[in-house]
Symmetry: C2
Subunit: 129 residues, 2 copies
């Protein structure tokens, strides 16, 4: 998941989550998963690429489908290679809008971070424990 | 903590965290804690107001002090009522900058949310289980 980043030093981490009650309809991890499904044509290959179990991958897709009005991904049945999975036009549109939101947030982040950076130490002082 | 909100329906949740390595130097909960310390003049009263244990409250203050170059809060010793705690000018400045960042994020959120809202259901479909 994209949430587990290993960025060191000072940085501003801004996460946008589209919520429906307590469900995350769209967020950083789900957006990356949709990109991976688009790239691999397969839910299981996309999950593998992101280091997630098939079950967790499937649950993320299921959450999106339970939150949005229309399906985000579609699976073709039959054909020479069995079914492939791809994003619906509806899913592509949602992903594009979410990436635009992230880009706007990135702009805000780049504007504000220089104010904060010089206030922080190079490394946190270890806890006294 | 402000992270545990109970907002229902569709909403965009955008959280900004100023990170130093893996420590959260400033975030929604710490900003609210600083406001509560300013209002109550006491770390323990501020924690109580936010429903946190004294230990957790103290750890949040300690993390800020371990991440920033200068102290965020100062405790007066002695005096008629023992020591009171207040924000340093340095802490007040950081809090003000963080609240401005949150306000700019809120503007972005208000611009984007109307695009997403009609795409979501009224309620998530329950999981098939």
């Amino acid at each position: 998941m994209s949430e587990k980043n290993n960025i060191t030093g000072a940085h501003l981490k801004i996460q946008a989550r589209l919520m429906l009650d307590e469900e995350i309809a769209m967020g950083p991890g789900k957006a990356d998963l949709l990109d991976a499904i688009a790239a691999t044509g397969s839910i299981s290959a996309a999950g593998k690429q992101m280091g997630m179990s098939y079950r967790r991958t499937w649950l993320l897709v299921d959450t999106m489908n339970r939150c949005f009005q229309q399906p985000i991904v579609e699976t073709a049945t039959g054909g020479a290679h069995g079914g492939g999975t791809r994003l619906t036009d509806y899913g592509i549109d949602i992903l594009k809008r979410y990436r635009q939101l992230q880009a706007d947030i990135q702009t805000i982040s780049a504007q504000h971070f220089p104010e904060f950076k010089p206030l922080l130490r190079k490394k946190p002082v270890p806890p006294a424990s």
